[in-house]
């Protein structure tokens, strides 16, 4: 993007607004209490969630604290506000890795100097990508008919993730779990590329002249980047867990938290942080899961519901086979055909088909995010009122802590659901087209090739949007 590149002719892609320039925000980001405090608050909430799943009285999912907070409130917040607005801000306050951090550092608050505890092994080179997360998240969705409705299944899932985070922390260095395994991490990283916020260093010269990269190695004020990034020069949100250690370790206060236009990272492709096939597949998988979730959860087809809720083992096997094929092969396969068409239309002989396929796959980031936001609206508007009930009776033991235990189920604005979902899909389609043509310009050698090569991809994005419009409204 050049200096005057404006999205829709309006939004300067180089625009940034630094929030840390406000003294209180800057001070907060430097404090060791932040993000520890929100992590502890969330840990408390997740303890209640686990208890509700394990010892809570019998309750169907809609009246269980764990189910409601995790799958209605947290999931919707994640897709609706946290990721599109503030990048991986959930990782900032996520309590799952707190036990491995505690073990490695032997303290929660202060800074431990020197080597961390644990074996500290390096994560296998072949697995330093999103593939484990891709498969892990897909496999998790095989059990969506259990996790999202059975409190004990949610307990098993969350308990398993916390345990796995701890075990991996014993064996591998720093936040290897968050970076390479956590099923929630991958899609956050992918969609964080569209987020309207970023953490970046401010003055590159300062970092260049700072010989000891304290943001990477750590000092007495904080740890070297637990996500094993180089905060002094990274350019994408994808793998920044926003732990804020770099704010604490930088002696020049050269790290900043910025608001920015959406989707800027999608246009970034550097040798150090290139566009990758594993990230492309994450985009396909997320799109596929959204479609399958809608069909099984918000669709009227009983046969699909029976499959996903494991009414019969055979039905469930058919479900996971079709679901996996659709996400791993079907959507990428169709997209591959459109990528071939793009190369054909462009007339370009130099750029590899693989590069065309990968580059344009990032157009599915805005589309996918829009699809998930629209899906989330379809969850929260009809079911949000259950939350008011469960906060008063979290364990389904007949409590009425805040006097809301008998609050009736009250769907909100569900009559306008179709309009809201349609509007969201169209808005994100617009972003996909605007950013997509820029990707085309980066992919092909000259502008006429970029224009011609863009046409099949635009048709694909239009068809995908129409498909989801049909699913949500038709």
């Amino acid at each position: 993007m050049d200096n005057k590149d404006k999205l829709f002719g309006l939004i300067d892609l180089n625009w940034r607004f630094e929030l840390t320039k406000f003294k209180q925000v800057g001070k907060l980001f430097k404090s060791r209490w932040f993000p520890l405090l929100p992590i502890i608050v969330n840990l408390f909430i997740f303890v209640i969630i686990l208890l509700a799943g394990f010892i809570g009285g019998y309750s169907s999912g809609s009246y269980n604290f764990g189910i409601m907070i995790v799958w209605i409130l947290w999931w919707v917040m994640l897709m609706f506000i946290l990721v599109p607005g503030f990048s991986r801000s959930w990782c900032l306050m996520c309590p799952f890795p707190i036990f491995s951090d505690w073990f490695q550092r032997k303290r929660l608050f202060g800074v431990r100097q020197g080597k961390l505890e644990g074996l500290g092994l390096k994560w296998p080179k072949q697995l330093k990508n999103m593939w484990v997360m891709n498969i892990g998240f897909l496999v998790t969705t095989f059990f969506s008919g259990l996790f999202t409705v059975k409190p004990f299944a949610t307990f098993v899932l969350l308990g398993g993730i916390i345990l796995l985070a701890f075990l991996i922390g014993l064996i591998f260095e720093k936040r290897s779990f968050c970076l390479y395994v956590c099923p929630v991490s991958g899609f956050q990283g992918l969609y964080a590329q569209f987020a309207t916020a970023e953490i970046r260093r401010m003055n590159p010269e300062l970092c260049k002249n700072h010989k000891v990269k304290t943001c990477f190695v750590g000092n007495e004020c904080g740890y070297g980047c637990p996500w094993m990034l180089t905060p002094f020069d990274f350019k994408k949100n994808t793998y920044c867990g926003m732990c804020l250690e770099c704010f604490k370790t930088c002696p020049y206060d050269n790290m900043g938290f910025f608001l920015r236009p959406p989707g800027v990272d999608l246009l970034s492709d550097t040798p150090r942080e290139p566009r990758r096939l594993d990230e492309a597949w994450k985009a396909f998988i997320m799109l596929g899961i959204a479609a399958v979730f809608f069909l099984t959860m918000q669709g009227p087809w009983g046969v699909l519901k029976d499959m996903v809720r494991q009414a019969t083992f055979k039905g469930w096997l058919i479900f996971i086979t079709l679901h996996s094929f659709f996400c791993l092969v079907g959507i990428p396969g169709i997209f591959f055909i459109f990528s071939c068409l793009s190369k054909l239309f462009s007339g370009n002989k130099e750029v590899s088909l693989r590069q065309i396929f990968i580059n344009f796959a990032y157009t599915l980031v805005p589309i996918g995010l829009g699809v998930w936001i629209a899906f989330s609206v379809g969850i929260i508007l009809p079911n949000g009122s259950y939350l008011i009930h469960v906060i008063s009776d979290p364990f389904a033991w007949g409590w009425n802590l805040f006097g809301t235990a008998h609050f009736p189920w009250t769907p909100v604005f569900t009559g306008s659901l179709g309009y809201i979902q349609g509007f969201v899909l169209v808005i994100f389609y617009l972003f996909a087209t605007a950013l997509g043509f820029r990707l085309s310009k980066q992919t092909y050698l000259d502008l006429s090739q970029a224009k011609r090569g863009w046409i099949p991809i635009l048709i694909f994005l239009t068809l995908v949007t129409i498909l989801f419009l049909w699913l949500y409204l038709g």
Partner: protein, 158 residues
Amino acid sequence: MKKLIIVLLSVLCFTATSYAAERFFEIKAKRFVYTPSIIKVNKGDLVRIRLISEDVTHGFFLDGYGLNTSTHPGQEGFLQFVADKPGRFTFRCSVTCGEFHPYMVGYFVVEKNLRLYLFVLLTVLLGVGSLLIILKNKPQQAHDNNPPQEPTMNTSNG
């Protein structure tokens, strides 16, 4: 594009001139599924619904119309209303009936589903429009085939 607009206008005219009818549906509710799970009527139709449960107590809440009824084995629920709002509306079980209760839904479609047509038309128009803009624009500067330039972190522009 003109043809598309003409087709859509024809659909609108057809909708305006279609005659209202009386429609009766017997909907059975059992284990998180309504049968039939998709019911279609035309705008202006008088709709009568009889809800029958074949296992436990189930509800029937119709989005957009705000109508609600319930049924349990041996006692049916009834609704009667004029389908005066076009579009697809979800009907949902309004009485907790088991673990899959939040997903017990069906579709009530009031033809013509202009909402869908409108958004599809909008998407196509935006896509075609963006393409025309792109194709019309002549190159103004050297083609940018490089990684994006790093934004200047001059933060006084907020």
